[in-house]
Subunit: 359 residues, 2 copies
Amino acid sequence: MWFETNLTKLLNINYPIIQAGMAGGPTTPELIATVSNSGGLGTLGAGYMSPEEIKEAIHKIQTLTNKPFAVNLFIPEDVLVEDQKVLKIHNTLQSFYDELGIEQPVLPKTWGPSFELQMKVIIEEKVPVFSYTFGSLDHKWVEQLKANGTKIVGTATTVKEAKLLEEMNVDAIVAQGSEAGGHRGTFACKAEDAMIGTMALVPQVVDAVNIPVIAAGGIMDGRGLLGSLSLGASGVQMGTAFLTTKESGANQLYKNTLIEATEEDTIVTIKFSGKAARGLKNEYTERLKDLPDNEVPSYPIQNSLTQPLRKEAAKQGKAKWLSMWAGQGLRLTQVEGAEQVIRRVMDQASNTLNLLKND
Amino acid sequence: MWFETNLTKLLNINYPIIQAGMAGGPTTPELIATVSNSGGLGTLGAGYMSPEEIKEAIHKIQTLTNKPFAVNLFIPEDVLVEDQKVLKIHNTLQSFYDELGIEQPVLPKTWGPSFELQMKVIIEEKVPVFSYTFGSLDHKWVEQLKANGTKIVGTATTVKEAKLLEEMNVDAIVAQGSEAGGHRGTFACKAEDAMIGTMALVPQVVDAVNIPVIAAGGIMDGRGLLGSLSLGASGVQMGTAFLTTKESGANQLYKNTLIEATEEDTIVTIKFSGKAARGLKNEYTERLKDLPDNEVPSYPIQNSLTQPLRKEAAKQGKAKWLSMWAGQGLRLTQVEGAEQVIRRVMDQASNTLNLLKND
């Protein structure tokens, strides 16, 4: 069948559809298990989770499905605390904290969970698929993952990055086009130099590597799936399309805003986390628009500095201070279950292919 | 057959491939006629041409083909000369002129050819297809074109723009994704807010209008054509893929630079013309990178101010001062004839479709 590709064989799944590992809450065990039970590959977005939380989530997923699933982590970079910058942004953010009526916390001592300890859980639990973003995975991890039979998926935003990942021995590559929501996976150049649209990126990556390529960015339905396979991809990764499902853990305010948004409503900004990411424009992004990027502390410092703000905003129901990651296919969001997403995408792709065949 | 769409019927062509109307030299009568004779639709990029030049080119094309072809024009905007800005940019550009050893001309008195007179030629010559960029076509022209049986194609970069074009009674719409080379067709918002990737833009535009949609941006081969049809488009417009053909009038220096470039080598800049356009990075774009956009005179003023510089740079063989428009599919450029481009694209699309069918 047209949907059986080297990716479905590699990952042992029925349909070439991966639900993206969106960190920060959307990827509940229910969402992941539903996607996997429906024939796709669910992914736990575990970047911000503690090792214990990851372990617990994996066990929960395993009670809900016996199908393959993935866990996604961020490769950490060296944290460079520039006191001057931090002081300055602290002052800038104060007005936002004031408006929410909460105190701005002092600078945290640690910058999120230990990658080393997160990886230990991935290894111990022998997860079926491990995917990662933001760069190079140390060779020792690659060896241990391979020994476990875990399939490894890296993320590239340029041809050069795809080649680097292939050299690192990953099993498949997500080619993340500029349409994609959330953090840019760019690691071998500046993010602004790697804003290549999916239509242009996918065939160029396919030509450059000998492993399956997964198209990502702006893919929302069966037309996007068939379009991606036409470009030479072996499957697709979809994030925004799963954010509005009933199983998604994204908060209701975020979901409602996504449903009403259009393709003109997103922006790529480093102002939330210190790393370039595509999300919905709101008062936060507008008010910080003129703040030069070089005055923003790097990831994960800026992320830590704005996290309490975003948490409180969610609690108070104020979308204007939230980071609401989203891709550019926003008019195509639907309110439905994750199983329906998979079925709708597969049906539409089949029908579209039949139309092309019979024409 | 799969390649017969409502667009091929509308335009009376064999294959759903339009060669983009790239202004400034690339679209020679030989290129246009070869594309049309090969079953696609050639387009004269006439934006910068005088009425007499347009008439002459049309007559030349007609001696080379009896197939349909298109002429593309820019819809003019009101010219707002801000003396302070002009004086300042004049000073900034002086060093470039100095390095080329020519004198910087005083500000021209007119800003390119008269649109009214250009349009009169289009009407008189009863061209088969008229395509345009940058906004609204006055109703009087729409009426005269329709009376002549000329098909009208507009350019949109957002869903909102596509709807506006449909209301203006165009016959088909180019959905120009962010990957596209050359000027952004954006007219209903800021160009920076309309950088929607082709993969996301096309299906959203298709859903919003009831006329044929032509995908543009990053499409370089048969995979891009089949991908675009999968997304719901009725055809594609390709620019960069035709720039390097032997019939293209792009100068050899520009062609050579395109052949060697990659997807990371382009930038969207207003520094050449005053309007956002995607082209190759070079010393000109790098040295003016930090010049704020609001210090650049608007189109067509900036275009006139930099034109002598670019002309002289071409003469001296210095790519570093040239505007070299290009899309993001650069690794897929080929040196071949335009007929081969059409044949290669069609063959690859057919083969790709057969692979999907038989899988």
